[in-house]
Symmetry: C2
Subunit: 288 residues, 2 copies
Amino acid sequence: MIERQIKEEIELWIEDYFKDKGNYNKIIYDAMKYSLTVGGKRIRPILMLLTYKMYREDYKKIIPLACAVEMIHTYSLIHDDLPCMDNDDLRRGKPTNHKVFGYAMAVLAGDGLLNEAMNIMFKYILDNKEGLEACYTISKSAGVEGMIGGQVVDILGEGKKVTEDELTYMHKKKTGELITAPIVAGALLAKAPNEHVEKLKLYGEKLGVAFQIKDDILDVTGDANVLGKNVHSDDKMHKTTFITTYGLEECKIKCEQLTRECIKILRELNLHSEPLVALTRFLLERNN
Amino acid sequence: MIERQIKEEIELWIEDYFKDKGNYNKIIYDAMKYSLTVGGKRIRPILMLLTYKMYREDYKKIIPLACAVEMIHTYSLIHDDLPCMDNDDLRRGKPTNHKVFGYAMAVLAGDGLLNEAMNIMFKYILDNKEGLEACYTISKSAGVEGMIGGQVVDILGEGKKVTEDELTYMHKKKTGELITAPIVAGALLAKAPNEHVEKLKLYGEKLGVAFQIKDDILDVTGDANVLGKNVHSDDKMHKTTFITTYGLEECKIKCEQLTRECIKILRELNLHSEPLVALTRFLLERNN
């Protein structure tokens, strides 16, 4: 299976990246690598590489950029888990970063991963100027008008009623942006036609919502051991979620419907999109 | 005076940048802007613009990049001040970010500023491809092999004896990198000859050390009201500093000597370097 091979290549790249890094500052590489390699489905980099691969075979050259996206995602998890945010002890079945490396180092490890992702992108475009738009897309998606903006609204909403508009904004930004961006970046890097980039953007947006609904469902129905993190955390934090807004059954229907829409968009591209279709289905059916 | 004019231009740019920003996420712009506009000498962006201005008059076009450096500097202060790091209540005579916006929002405001700085740089090079190397220089200087690396060693050193090598590493990274980088970036953006870039890099490195020694001196001899932050904080945190290592008098001599070396390098460029010379002197003589 191509996804499995790609996942291995991503993990090898990360392993290699951290080899022999650091001197007096070595501990921060350990902290960064810990959260990057503690597990994870690698959905975002795989989405990027599979999108690219529909157009071009030489996907290996963009693995550094795919891993930069994974670094951004990982930094956001480290900061999300901090005592001042969601205060989670467990992530992917292992102690969270601050539980292992301490509060200060976890803040710095997050900062470090975000910064490192940017370094990797600048370095990439030094040799591949045409990658600039893709990198800018990724950088914007992570920022205050993207993922961070969603996190802000999430935190503001703790313990109080959130409107449907705010909920939509929050999920679109917090989860959706960093799922859509690697897909769009993959298409841009592969020089896909503009109308494909637009369609893939729509695919990413729908996939992001479906992904978040599924996450909310799993937080209610999932098994902590399989999930590798605490369940009922939204309830504990008195958070408004898709479940509290629409109810569990409605959410399941919505998630399936979005998945169908995603697959329809992919099929209409008339490319070899089966690996992306399979991943899209997997994301609906996953139990962690 | 040109520095004063440049400082005003920087502050106008920042003011303008935050105009009408945000919707549901508005609070994070408030938090970012708060720390960006609560004061500050704007040394890093001014260094960048004055360096550039020795070669070219059209320095206004790089003001966004100079402000990106200021954003990176400001994010590092916000995270440094957090309870899990230096736990400072006061910065530039005003309550620190987390004291005003809360712990979680301060973490996010820091993340947001770093990310926004990167966005600004990517956007700049979309229109000015030749700015790429300068942006990469800035991005690297902030990362785990730069400023963050220094901060790591600083934290590891709390309450224990730090070797002279570690101290040198720490200051070179924590303070020096983000002083050297805008100078080098300014030179690169102005297309200064290679040997000038090298000389200005050396100038920046020496200036960074002088700056840090002066900071350590002020922490011992300064007035909290003038400094706008608590004094004797290094002592309180049991930190090894230039003062604990070399003693106050030796530090004053070292600082003056470095300043002279800096000015010598500037003079040898045979350019109109007087504004940079004046700034270098001011940094030695400052009382905050």
